[in-house]
Symmetry: C2
Subunit: 314 residues, 2 copies
């Protein structure tokens, strides 16, 4: 369910006059997204997506919204925010901060092909390159400090085997040094449901609200873990190779990145294992949360651990 | 002929690495445009138009290029310039300043329908509204001062009837006062070949290199004169009414604009009559110029004069 705030056609028609986008033709709730309200908006001029933010405040949005505008301006396929007649990309409606973006073609794929993975990898690398000139800065709120603190509250809920696995991984990640690796703006949540595929092309990246500054190959690792994982947590080598080859067609990896890669795949699995454990065991009181199985990422992490240190799929 | 500067695929493939747009797939000259070189560029990521400027200098481009980016950012259908990895929209190739823009769907129409005219008028008004926050400023280089000076060199080439018609119109326009009319950024050359139509929708406005600050309904008048003129210089009332109604669906005209309208239609015809006379009688030495019949706009002007002062089609 993703319409938490109801907007009537009459309200929207009046509100749209703040923009240079023509008159409202149709308004439709979009059944995707778990924290914001999204509407498909058609006007006499084109098609757009209107997001009403249910938790983020207007003051928290500029990093994300300016980033999307910056990336679109560099030709990266992503939702491009549209400015109103006061030249602002962030507006408000029904008491919620809003962003209106251009409609993107395509839809998420469940089981991507190697060809699609290649296109995805290439676009991700291009996004990393285009991000080099982005002036905004946002520390990763889901980094080692966060997962260490979160885990300390989760151990009581876990079996001793799981707790020990979690503790060991956090400890090993803590001993690793990644500060020498190329960093920049990353999407940090480029799961299949955040990429619209238009055939074998990238229709667009969406949902930039976890974007932050961090290590670039961490972003690649997050992406491989979701796009290439099999049900048992193993990685489909063909897809992973295609994704990594696509990435390297646009941005070469250096020796330090190749060396760090196996541990980075584990870090990326750890981050989502912890956040899913958190949502599972400690859901915010009084809120309907959308829990996902933490086991998925535990299995991915386990498979990475078993595989050892070879520079897989690069 | 519109490829004055030849770019090889190898040159372009190397040059494209400055952008975040993937690898070159195909490069094709575009047979349109009379002052610049245009190429259709396909990459692994998308499709673009590359313009190499043959006469404008890089220092002259920012007003136009920033304007296109501003309008696209507000949702106006127009070519959106893409920034390179140095965050610059203006680059260079083969010794020419360049701009790379996203590919727009559609193509120019020769005989537009009233429905298409309505969509055009609405988009033109939206463009005028979106232009309100554009900070750039450019005086119109083809205004009354220019046409008065140009005409004084043209009279010797004209029959006494034509010279007298031209002299009288310039004199009448000179006595009119337009300074109280709403002004802003105008396209100033929105002829049919500068609008890509995608069915009944506006695919995009192109060729902003006459854009400037001037009176808004002057832009509307230029547009009506080209989009709605019949071969004898009369205006097709159905198309003109649709175009003006479309415009007013997005921006209401005030009483002063309605009053000035008949004279503005004549001013818009005068401007192109003079520039075509100039190209006809005084082509720049040693250049292959693309002469168009000045008589077209003389007939349009004549028809406007005959019609008198009613607020036509508004």
């Amino acid at each position: 369910m993703s319409v938490f705030t109801t907007v009537t056609p009459a309200e929207l028609a009046a509100w749209l006059k703040r923009y240079s986008l023509g008159d409202l033709v149709e308004l439709k709730g979009i059944a995707a997204g778990i924290t914001n309200t999204n509407y498909a908006v058609s006007t006499t001029q084109g098609k757009y997506v209107l997001t009403l933010f249910e938790t983020l405040q207007a003051s928290e949005l500029p990093f994300y919204v300016n980033l999307m505008a910056h990336l679109a301006h560099h030709g990266i396929a992503c939702a491009a925010p549209i400015a109103n007649q006061r030249d602002e990309m962030i507006d408000s409606l029904c008491g919620r901060p809003t962003v209106l973006v251009g409609w993107l073609q395509g839809e998420p794929v469940d089981v991507p092909s190697p060809t699609q993975c290649h296109a995805l990898g290439a676009m991700l690398a291009q996004m990393h390159r285009a991000g080099e000139t982005y002036p905004g800065h946002m520390p990763n709120p889901r980094g080692p400090q966060w997962w260490t603190a979160a885990a300390s509250e989760l151990y009581p809920y876990l079996s001793s085997t799981d707790a020990s696995m979690l503790r060991n991984e956090i400890s090993q990640q803590g001993r690793a040094r990644f500060a020498h690796l190329p960093s920049g703006v990353i999407h940090a949540d480029l799961f299949r449901d955040n990429v619209l595929m238009h055939g074998d092309r990238i229709g667009g990246f969406i949902d930039f609200y976890y974007a932050c500054n961090d290590i670039l190959i961490y972003d690649l690792a997050i992406t491989v873990n979701d796009w290439c994982a099999l049900p048992d947590g193993q990685i489909d080598a063909q897809r992973a190779q295609a994704l990594c080859a696509g990435y390297q067609s646009a941005r070469a990896l250096n020796a330090a990145e190749r060396e760090a890669w196996p541990l980075m795949l584990r870090a990326a699995a750890l981050r989502f294992w912890v956040s899913r454990l958190w949502d599972w065991h400690k859901p915010p009181a009084g809120e309907l949360t959308y829990r996902k199985d933490p086991g998925v990422f535990q299995h991915i992490l386990h498979a990475h651990q078993q595989r050892g240190d070879a520079a897989h799929w690069l």
